[in-house]
Symmetry: C2
């Protein structure tokens, strides 16, 4: 099973799998991470490019303008084994648009480091669907601290250091508020800490587990949902009553095809708070039973394909059984499913549903960015 999207386009799930593959197979690789950008950039701090010793690369640090240069640097890092930083100044003063670029001008700072055991705790935490924060030194005037020194923080704030030297505990302590803020905002950022012997710049890299897209159904319309869900960065799990090789072949873009009956669907949800469910069996009873099962879990989103009245009918059946849906239940149920983009073709429906699941995952409401980001249209004309 391969990723549908070309590797340059990969989401964090793809980057993380490339790192894990290097650790598992022992095939050397390097990771380049954006640690800072000056001006606006196409990618934000935390964006990663993983380069194997054979030159294969996964991920992106710009819109495509630096990847070749970075691959060369990564090859050197794989050889030396030493983490390093690199600044790319793509400022194009001739055009007088400093800071207005999108990754092909402006200034971008990168940390380029070998995949070594210092990544293993992060991979293990992410595998277990737990968030993790990497604290990595990217600059230091303190002689006791070097670029690449790393402490990994688990969700429970355990400090883990493996292979590379950890950060001095005073530095980790000083980072407390910045780490909390970065986690809350889900934004990686570089923070400067004063020590007794100098200053240390630490890249606080917040890594969150890939969300699961749990798709209940086995009709053909599941296929574009699986494909677009995978491309959008979800780990896609298709739940079919049948399962088996036939269904695995039917949905080649799914990361996993799980044979489970509708009443038991809750039992296959292994990370509820990271799971976004889509019910699209096209069978009223199956969808209703699956919905009832999922409502016993803490999944934040249950998209129910079909018109509103279909859900109203389900709700009446719940009421007849004496089951009342709480406001919190109703807030998790999205029906009609999807963002309001029009179009009733299979790929358009899939696009709408996957976009909504992604929006909910990111705490967004859909709608047009141009309408929500401050006055342009309302501003009085200059002329």
């Amino acid at each position: 099973m391969t990723d549908t999207a070309p590797d340059w386009e990969t989401t964090p799930l793809g980057s993380y799998r490339a790192v894990r593959a290097s650790l598992t197979t022992g095939r050397p690789a390097a990771v380049a991470t954006v640690t800072n950008v000056d001006g606006s950039a196409y990618r934000r701090p935390g964006a990663k490019l993983v380069v194997s010793a054979t030159g294969d690369s996964t991920g992106a640090v710009t819109a495509g303008c630096l990847e070749d240069s970075v691959a060369d640097i990564a090859a050197g890092v794989v050889e030396s084994g030493d983490p390093r930083t690199e600044r790319f100044d793509l400022t194009n003063d001739a055009e007088g648009v400093w800071g207005m670029g999108l990754g092909c001008n402006g200034v971008i700072d990168l940390l380029v480091e070998p995949v070594d055991e210092s990544f293993r705790p992060a991979v293990e935490e992410l595998d277990a669907k737990r968030a993790v924060t990497l604290l990595t030194v990217v600059a230091s005037t303190d002689p006791t601290v070097s670029v690449g020194d790393r402490t990994t923080l688990t969700e429970d704030d355990d400090h883990v250091a493996t292979e590379r030297p950890g950060l001095p505990s005073a530095v980790v302590d000083a980072l407390g508020d910045a780490v909390a803020d970065a986690r809350t905002a889900d934004r990686s950022t570089t923070v400067t800490v004063d020590t007794d012997a100098g200053t240390v710049d630490v890249f606080v890299d917040v890594l969150t587990p890939a969300p699961d897209l749990l798709v209940f159904g086995r009709q053909r319309d599941v296929a574009p949902v699986a494909r677009l869900g995978r491309e959008a960065g979800f780990r896609v799990r298709v739940v079919t009553g049948r399962g088996g090789q036939a269904d695995t072949d039917r949905f080649p873009d799914a990361h996993e095809v799980v044979p489970t009956r509708a009443p038991d669907i809750a039992s296959v949800v292994d990370a509820p708070e990271h799971t976004y469910a889509l019910l699209m069996s096209h069978n009223f009873v199956d969808d209703r039973v699956a919905l009832e099962s999922l409502l016993t879990t803490d999944v934040p989103y249950i998209g129910l394909m079909g018109p509103r009245k279909r859900f109203e009918e389900m709700r009446e059946e719940f009421a007849e059984e004496g089951t009342s849906l709480t406001t919190a239940d109703l807030d998790r149920i999205a029906t009609p499913v999807g963002l309001d983009i029009g179009g009733d073709h299979p790929t358009q429906i899939a696009l709408s549903a996957v976009a909504e699941a992604l929006a909910v995952h990111n705490g967004r409401s859909g709608g047009r960015l141009t309408d929500s980001s401050g006055p342009i249209h309302g501003r009085p004309s200059r002329e």
Copy 2:
């Protein structure tokens, strides 16, 4: 160049191209069209499945439950050359959910007809980016009128009949209001007309040209936009300053790669009212010049990648040159581009931008359907 999406998932553009291919090559094919659904359906009236004489099929009339049966019927129609209708009653009374299905129960009426010269006027109009309406008889108690009789209406309301008998002009006249409503709503529908000798059911099929997605740029992030744009039903035209085979290879999902410099981009817009533009060269000057050029056309949408302040900078330069943007100009410019779904990864950005272009094309706002379709959350609890 092949469609990325499997054929079952194809948009109207794909169905229309399959019909055109049959007319052009002379290879026989049949078209099945949904003419009516009872209850809610996965596909709406007008949805098409094109089946070639060799059994290849393009398109979908349900979520995947009927396609095999329909292909068999289509094979018979190819052989006989006679249009026919077929009703599928998938009502599943055992589950007591009549009308609540999504294409795998409920009642679906289909028109199955050979691809013949009666389709040619429609193909030619759509090729010229003009809408067209097919009026086709799907039932008749009038002995002078038969199933499959067809009159094609152009945008200018010329009546065209080719190969098959046209509809009596009294019937076409009687359909006037229904045709106008169907066009306005962009919804195909079946209408019953009384004649002197009986009643005639006419399927009013509104066909609109596929929208163009005009993408200006040649960085790697154009690739996922081209791919998702194609999947969503756009004819994708990538405009690069360079062009040539290198760029054609670079963007295999584009229907066309057009070599044109930024100041000349207006000259390649051949159907402005059907063109949705995305400016993503990542070069401030190129994007600004391309924007200025596109504003001289009637394109309804210009998505400008980058932060709001980048556009403000462009606007200042326009003002310094004495060019003032009108409110109508500003309403066409979308920046930041895309729907608000979060995520800054290449495919997520592409998903957001393509979803916005589709929403604008369909006159939608891109918000969550579950929030906009009547009270569920606000309704007092039954209990």
